[in-house]
Amino acid sequence: MKFDLQQWINTGRLKSPWVAHYDCGSCNGCDIEVLACLTPVYDVERFGIINVGNPKQADVLLVSGTVNPRNRVVLKNLYDQMQHPKAVIALGACGLNGGIFQEAYNVVGGVDKVIPVDVYVPGCPPKPEAIIDAVVVALGKIKEQLEKADRGQAVNG
């Protein structure tokens, strides 16, 4: 077997998604479901998923809630602090497009108005199973990114 460090690193990337969670003014419904994933019932550590408080050490950003003009700066800042390769997951109806608040004067809309989103999780709130599945799908997106990079294109960003 040929020793291929890049192959090993890619394996590591797919097996160790560290998650940072940011609440853009959510009602906490989605946030409680995110925390439910960490409990022994769902135990996301089986997939190597760890909830980290520091965006600099995270691979996946979970965003819940309606984005407003105040926290869009913070959201962009958090996203910029994450190191490549990275993925973003928008949680719940509010994260997708603002939900029932989308017409409100202080709501920007979905998370994708501010930063590129890889996976959308619908629901109000989404089930923990859906959130875990979203992280797994996000890993697939990261893998696509990496394969693109392997084919000679530079990873963007």
């Binding site: 890619n10 590591g12 097996k15 160790s16 960490l38 760890i50 520091n54 050490q57 190191q83």
Partner: protein
């Protein structure tokens, strides 16, 4: 001499693998204690490989330098241990790594990093006297600070230095930053001041510190193994039991303050160490 050098190099090569597997076992057993299934055994290796593949974005050059120096000093300390060098030399080399880790954290303005670094200094203040006391006890028993002399003993050190072994266990818990001493930073899922000391270390730098931590674990378990130097099986049983108690304590206790660590843990343990050393004198 050549044989010792060879032994040292073998030890240096095996230590990171061993340390990673111990970390993986630790996470798995911890998960089982919390009635979870837990990550795969090789999870720490996946984590480190991933971190190594991250695009570097260190805040300043100090962080990079400090992470290299921490890794180098931990590796050198492990090499010296398997080389059967002087215990005090190993201790000083180990300390250099810890100091540089703190200096790296202090070189950044982040308040989490700063607080974590200050707390790490307090943790060093707590575990270093204990380790020194253990070494003094070993030196009184064997007549020198050299590891070779310990292997020449006929009776395991544990019988003459039982309290010092206990003190080494406390030092191990503080050095590993396990509960109740995960004050400066914490491991895997836990959050204490956003992982304090490690807040500003990212990507490859964090991976290097993680490997350095594995090496430190192997080194301190190596120091524990000196207490049963007469037989391989006894040594392994002692190490397994020690580490299992570490994990148990980690899971049944909550994080406490540094004041508690200094007044209620360091002070009594130091007195107990003195009792053991006095007892050695009277024998």
């Amino acid at each position: 001499m050549i044989a010792k050098l060879f032994f040292g190099l073998i030890g240096l090569a095996v230590a990171p693998v061993l340390g990673g597997i111990i970390a993986g076992l630790d996470r798995r057993v911890t998960a089982r204690m919390q009635s979870r299934f837990g990550p795969p055994l090789l999870q720490p290796f996946y984590d480190v490989l991933k971190l190594l593949g991250k695009r570097p974005s260190a805040v300043n050059a100090w962080l990079v330098l400090c992470s290299y120096l921490t890794l180098m000093s931990s590796a050198l300390a492990v090499f010296l241990f398997f080389f059967q060098a002087d215990l005090l030399l190993i201790f000083f080399v180990m300390t250099i790594g810890a100091v540089f880790q703190v200096m790296g954290a202090l070189s950044v303005n982040s308040p989490f990093s700063q607080v974590g670094a200050q707390r790490e200094l307090l943790q060093m203040l707590a575990y270093e006297p204990l380790i020194i006391m253990v070494f003094v006890g070993i030196a009184l028993k064997t007549g020198s600070f050299s590891i070779e002399n310990i292997y020449a003993l006929e009776q395991p050190l544990l019988f003459s230095l039982p309290i010092l072994f206990l003190a080494l266990g406390v030092a191990l818990t503080i050095k590993l930053r396990k509960s109740p001493f995960d004050i400066s930073t914490s491991h895997h899922g836990h959050q204490e001041i956003v992982r304090g000391l490690l807040t500003e270390y990212t990507g490859p730098q964090l991976a290097m510190l993680e490997i350095a931590h594995w090496l430190d674990v192997v080194l301190i378990l190596g120091l524990c193994s000196l207490f049963w130097s007469t037989g391989m099986i006894g040594m392994l049983v002692l190490l397994a039991a020690t580490y299992f108690v570490e994990m148990l304590v980690d899971n049944i206790s909550s994080r406490l303050t540094w004041q508690w660590m200094l007044t209620r843990v360091l002070a009594p343990t130091m007195v107990l160490c003195l009792v053991n050393i006095l007892w050695l004198y009277t024998l």
